[in-house]
Point group: C2
Chain length 325, copies 2
């Protein structure tokens, strides 16, 4: 396929377990128009693709028609770049292996590409964000779970099967905390996710019965990383310790990742980054302490500067500019 | 620079702490001629390059002259591919940063490329060995130390600074065994190297004073991985346990590497592979047990089929075919 000069817009679609965000994006990362729809309303994936089409069609028309669009980029859980499939996504209703890009391309009559959300975030950072101009970097998404997208020599690391970059599931604490989903123990996600922070907070409250803490004002099922942050801001010792400990685990994990691919930068993205230096300072400290001297003080450890509201759409849309003409 | 069709040979030079191996290799991996020289005899690196020239010149003449040679590939400790330098190699006499490819290219009037020995091994496997046709694989060298070369999407992973792939120094056992050189604790190399196997053997002998073992027939300074293997072959329980434990640590490390880059194969190379299934079986078991289901039973875990005597020369020479014309 050949692209023409008039095709200056990309569609980005980010499929989440609950909601789907979508938008039209230009090559500079300006979102021309955007929208969203429920993911869970559609039992049949074909109905979902129809809904995408109904939502996007007026936006495409307003932008000058389909001939202005170069293609469609999609971020999706368990997305496989090579095959364009969504495979056995535990938090989606569509079971088994879904040939998602085939459905989308034939409905829209446009080329499409798909990968998982963390990989899309990495392409987004390279195209529009903090990784502009970088050829070697890692994006770590610290949200409900921990995702990762790895770029080496200017290309996303997909691995032989399209599933590379599951750094949230690497074991950092052997025989450590049990993962609620995978059954593995001591993986990065069990500590450095919003879920992990909540579990750490509960553990620390229980293990330090004599220590006063604002966290004790909350029911366990109310506790989340936002509340821990607010308590830390009020000077709460245990709340600060929760983030320090989380940063220690994360920093040790990042040290191993650095010795794997020697990135110029590691870009942190997602809800936990709201904790700012409470998490960034210990992360940096333990990353630097656990790498060989040859890697020390060389890796930029930074937060993404893309707005969380738009980053998913931007990341997905950025896949389009990577398409081979 | 342009290559001509007559340039069908590559020179491979492998610089070790004690000895240097070199040879002329054709594109199929046949070693046309080879030789070696001492590394330690040369206090000044320029004298060493002169000695390389004196050793190689007759071989080059015998092969039809310099116009038959496409270039020179070099494997060296702490070799930096981007800069062609050897930087602060602890086991070489030449201190600081050595502009090695500049010295070689001007002495031979041929293009040259340099990387560390494990990266060279990976290029060798891709060009001549078990990884032929693969685009995503990892080579782990299990020798005195543990080295690694990572290939992703058909390219060696060098990272932003040329130093990527130090998997031997990733922490696998937090607060584990102290590394004799780096001062880090619990890194892969402290267990899965020849040195590590020796330390494990001594530990197991001492911790199990009541258990008979053929290993007790040796002084501690005699013990090495070869002797442990020979004792295992005679049915010695502790000797077998040494390799099982080593394989367990190695397998857990490989699991994390698999979730990073999702390789088609992991190729093990070096002295410890002589232990065969004593180490391979537990390595595979613990690798498979520690990856997400999506990666299970997908990664080939194999020994290199290149002869250890020739692999270093082949790997170094293979860098030449990767040179951009």
């Amino acid at each position: 396929m050949k692209f023409s000069a008039s095709q200056q817009l990309a569609i980005g679609i980010d499929i989440g377990g609950t909601g789907t965000k979508l938008g039209l994006v230009d090559a500079r990362g300006n979102i021309i128009s955007k929208g969203d729809l429920s993911t869970t309303d559609y039992e049949d994936v074909k109905d979902f693709v129809d809904a995408l089409y109904r939502t996007l069609s007026p936006m495409i028309e307003a932008a000058g028609g389909s001939e202005k669009i170069r293609g469609i980029g999609i971020g999706a859980p368990n997305g496989n770049y090579y095959k364009g499939t969504i495979e056995y996504a535990p938090n989606l209703k569509w079971k088994g292996i879904i040939q998602f890009t085939d459905l989308v391309s034939s409905r829209f009559n446009l080329p499409s590409a798909l990968t998982n959300d963390a990989n899309a975030a990495a392409v987004g950072e390279m195209t529009y964000g903090a990784a502009k101009g970088m050829k070697d970097f890692i994006v770590i998404t610290l949200g409900t779970g921990v995702g990762s997208g790895i770029v080496s020599n200017g290309n996303l690391v997909y691995g032989h099967d399209g599933f590379a970059g599951e750094l949230g599931h690497t074991v950092i604490v052997p025989e450590g905390r049990l993962h609620w989903g995978t059954g593995m123990k001591g993986t990065l996600e069990t500590y450095a996710s919003a879920t992990g922070v909540r579990l750490t907070a509960i553990e620390m409250i229980e293990k330090n019965p004599g220590t006063e803490s604002l966290l004790r004002n909350y029911q366990y099922d109310e506790l989340d990383s936002r509340i821990v942050f607010e308590c830390a801001e009020k000077g709460d010792h245990i709340a600060k310790e929760v983030f320090r400990f989380t940063g220690e685990i994360l920093g040790k994990a990042l040290a191993n990742f650095v010795m794997f691919s020697s990135p110029e930068a590691i870009i942190l993205f997602g809800g936990l980054t709201k904790a700012g230096d409470y998490i960034l300072a210990p992360t940096r400290q333990h990353m630097e302490a656990n790498v060989l001297p040859i890697f020390r003080d060389k890796v930029q450890l930074i937060f993404s500067n893309l707005s969380e509201a738009d980053a998913a759409i931007l990341g997905a849309s950025a896949l389009v500019w990577e398409m081979k003409a």
